[in-house]
């Protein structure tokens, strides 16, 4: 009933508020340190630098408004939940496409690892291993690849990856562990070939 909504709003208790100073301090303490990981995950979700920046800005605004309802525990997981929900709202009419296309999902992953290793032989070996890892990542199912990318590449915890992917932590663990065993097998084959 359309009339029920305003009546319900009238009897709702006033939203708890905190002083601007306390809000600003909580925001600086809990949110600002997580900027980089928010941007990193936003890039995974949007696969586009401009969209990722907009998504993080929207997330920061929502977090700022909601910080008086944050209990102070696991700020990164809390922020990633806001990020995920904000992204869903922004793209409501599009089907969520997180990691469902393997080429795009890996688009942000360089073919080779970071430079700076000493020794041409080591560099050659690193290059082969990196190429093998990327090939192995591509060979994983989308669900398994998403967990490996979020935890092992981007450095999220199990809980944080679970928030982004909306699955239980136990599912994160089983997917991750199975995927790593497969990656290990592929890497071992490459190393045996190099050293034989």
């Amino acid at each position: 009933m359309s009339l029920a909504r305003p009546r319900l709003l009238m009897v709702m208790p006033r939203q708890k508020t905190i002083s601007d100073e306390a809000r600003n301090r909580a925001f600086r303490d809990h949110v600002v340190p997580e900027l980089e990981i928010l941007y990193r995950v936003a890039l995974r979700l949007t696969r586009n630098g401009h969209d990722a920046e907009d998504l993080v800005q929207d997330t920061l605004l929502r977090a700022y408004r909601a910080i008086d309802r944050f209990d102070g525990r696991h700020p990164r997981a809390w922020l990633l939940t806001i990020l995920r929900n904000t992204n869903i709202n922004r793209a409501r009419k599009r089907r969520p496409h997180l990691f469902d296309d393997e080429d795009q999902a890996l688009a942000a992953i360089p073919a080779h690892g970071a430079d700076g290793r000493e020794g041409a032989a080591e560099q050659a070996l690193d290059g082969m291993v990196d190429e093998t890892i990327v090939a192995a990542l591509r060979a994983l199912s989308g669900d398994h690849r998403a967990v490996v990318i979020l935890v092992d590449v981007d450095g999220l915890s199990y809980m944080e990856a679970a928030e982004i992917l909306e699955v239980p932590i136990g599912t994160i663990m089983s997917r991750l562990h199975r995927a790593r065993r497969r990656l290990r097998t592929m890497l071992e084959h490459v190393r045996e070939e190099v050293h034989s």
């Binding site: 949110v31 920061l60 992953i109 360089p110 690193d126």
Partner: protein, 88 residues
């Protein structure tokens, strides 16, 4: 009922099978301190599990090298946006 001495001892020191079940969580820093100590102690004394742990550490290290560099200008803009929100 009291556990036989050998059984009580086994409960304090997990066998390889038990360690293998928690090894990944240990390497990811997802175990509590007491449980992590037990696994670390086992890895220090068990050659087979120690090798297994190093292999998975290598896999994790290789994967972490695939982390893309972020655009620093964008990060700076986001930092400024956050600073302005927080009134600083």
């Amino acid at each position: 009922m009291r556990w036989p001495k050998a059984r009580r001892s086994a409960r304090r020191a997990p066998d390889c099978h038990e360690v293998q079940k928690t090894l990944q969580s240990f390497l990811d820093g997802e175990l509590g301190p007491a449980e992590a100590d037990v696994v670390a102690d086992h890895l220090a004394h068990c050659v087979r599990c120690g090798i297994e742990a190093r292999v998975f550490e290598d896999v994790k290290a290789s994967l972490s090298q695939l982390r893309p560099d972020l655009d620093l200008e964008t990060l700076a803009r986001l930092q400024q946006f956050a600073d302005e929100l927080a009134g600083s």
